[in-house]
């Protein structure tokens, strides 16, 4: 079978559509906000993300081959049912990968840069991690090869998912027809995922199918009354690309050096976890927000 890489094939499409989004936004034909240095960081992160993955690529590939050699079944790459099956299983794997990447700090350290833009446009989609390989999340896909899916098939399906997720990074598309919004990850659902409003934190982890969020209780629709504010809870104060790529790893290392006996907590606690609770996690931010809402409601009723 000829080598097939969906991401490489889609690269010209990425370039053309970013250009279109910038130009049409400038002409007032669609909604998109670009900022020059922010765009430069996003695109440069994307450009070098493939190179950054190389040091671990051999290891992850060898692990997939090893898993495939110890497979439980032999699943033919030529069967349509196999592609349908790998589509669902890869997407489910992606959901859990993505959820771990937000809810455990060691993996958040690798993923945080994708969320570090205060903008939400097609260039944001290309702000890809440089440290995903080191973080080891590729291991989550090994069970698929162990099950019997050829590693090439898994790699192609991962590429398909990545390409799908590109076009949903836009404010130009408001809502799609209800049946599509019900089943698929859409620009509206993914805007919520990139928002830093407490109500929207840690929601909509889907890759292609939003049904996983609905099943596992992490779905949050975009609300007209609460516009998304994009970026991180603590937005970056620099466009230095090395800091964008590595700031959370540096912070993690500093915390471990400062208090090594809490290493497991620093690594596998939620982002913001501290032994003394002195920083905010998504859970505490949501609780504080809910408390403010509860306080505000009686005051609103009194005013009415």
């Amino acid at each position: 079978m000829k080598h097939f890489d969906p991401v490489t094939l889609a690269t010209p499409f990425f370039i053309v559509t970013v250009i279109l989004e910038i130009v049409l936004a400038r002409l007032g034909k669609l909604k998109a906000h670009y900022e020059t240095r922010d765009t430069a960081v996003s695109l440069t992160m994307g450009l070098f993300s493939t190179l950054a993955g190389l040091p671990v690529a051999g290891l992850s590939f060898a692990a997939a081959i090893w898993a495939y050699h110890h497979r439980l079944f032999t699943i033919p790459m030529t069967a349509a049912w196999a592609w349908v099956l790998v589509f669902f299983l890869e997407d489910l794997t992606y959901y859990w990968f993505h959820r771990l990447s937000h809810e455990r700090r060691v993996w958040w350290a690798a993923h945080v840069n994708h969320h570090s833009s205060q903008h939400y446009n097609l260039s944001t989609a290309l702000r890809q991690t440089w440290t995903g390989g080191v973080a080891g999340t590729w291991a989550l896909w090994l069970p698929l090869s162990l099950l019997g899916f050829p590693p090439a098939m898994v790699a192609i399906e991962k590429g398909v998912s990545l390409v799908y997720q590109y076009w949903i990074h836009t404010e130009a598309i408001r809502r799609l027809p209800r049946p599509i919004e019900a089943v698929f990850n859409t620009p509206s659902h993914h805007r919520v995922h990139h928002a830093r409003n407490p109500r929207y934190l840690d929601k909509n982890y889907a890759g292609i199918l939003i049904v996983w969020d609905r099943m596992f209780g992490t779905f949050q629709p975009e609300l007209d009354e609460e516009a998304c504010r994009y970026g991180l809870v603590h937005n970056l104060g620099t466009f230095n690309i090395l800091r964008v790529a590595f700031h959370e790893w540096i912070g993690l290392a500093q915390d471990i050096v400062r208090s090594p006996r809490h290493t497991l907590g620093w690594l596998f606690g939620a982002p913001g976890w501290t032994p003394d609770g002195s920083r905010d996690t998504s859970a505490t931010l949501k609780a504080q927000w809910a408390a403010r809402q509860a306080q505000a409601k009686p005051a609103e009723r009194e005013a009415a």
């Binding site: 690269t11 250009i19 910038i22 020059t36 695109l43 104060g237 620099t238 800091r243 590595f246």
Partner: protein, 145 residues
């Protein structure tokens, strides 16, 4: 062993830094430069306006909900602000067309030095190491204690 061969050939095709990959990287780099240039053209004349008292308070309310502001000092170039809330300094500094916000002890903020019309406040965060804000006087005389 057919499967072994197909796996090996797949691996060979994925050899990362062959000539085609380097050409693709070079073309992609050129495309990135073009897109950044286009973004610069498209956003020309659309920079963020200088921060006003009202805007600063709106940002601070978003970033630090529920904290009372006792004093607010805008940077002279409108690219940031420092607010006092009890014993804390709330610092806003321009980041593109948005802002980065951090809080730190007020005593730390007032200890920052003023040099060449800039106050450099160390924020102690790898993601926002320092805020560099334009002030003619620092610390503020009225609430520096």
């Amino acid at each position: 062993m057919t499967e072994g061969r197909s796996v090996a050939s797949f691996a060979a095709r994925r050899t990362p830094l062959n000539a085609a990959a380097l050409i693709q990287l070079a073309i992609s780099a050129a495309a990135v430069a073009a897109m950044v240039g286009l973004a610069a053209w498209a956003t020309r004349g659309r920079g963020a306006p200088p921060l006003t008292d009202t805007e600063a308070r709106r940002w601070l309310a978003d970033e630090f909900p529920g904290l009372a502001i006792e004093g607010l000092w805008l940077a002279t170039d409108g690219k940031g602000a420092v607010a006092k809330s009890k014993d804390q300094a709330l610092v806003l500094s321009r980041m593109g067309d948005g802002y980065a916000a951090r809080r730190l002890a007020w005593s730390q903020a007032v200890a920052a030095g003023l040099k060449d019309g800039r106050v450099r406040i160390a924020l102690g965060d790898p993601g926002a190491p320092r805020a560099v804000l334009a002030f003619t006087k620092w610390p503020p005389q009225d609430l520096a204690a």
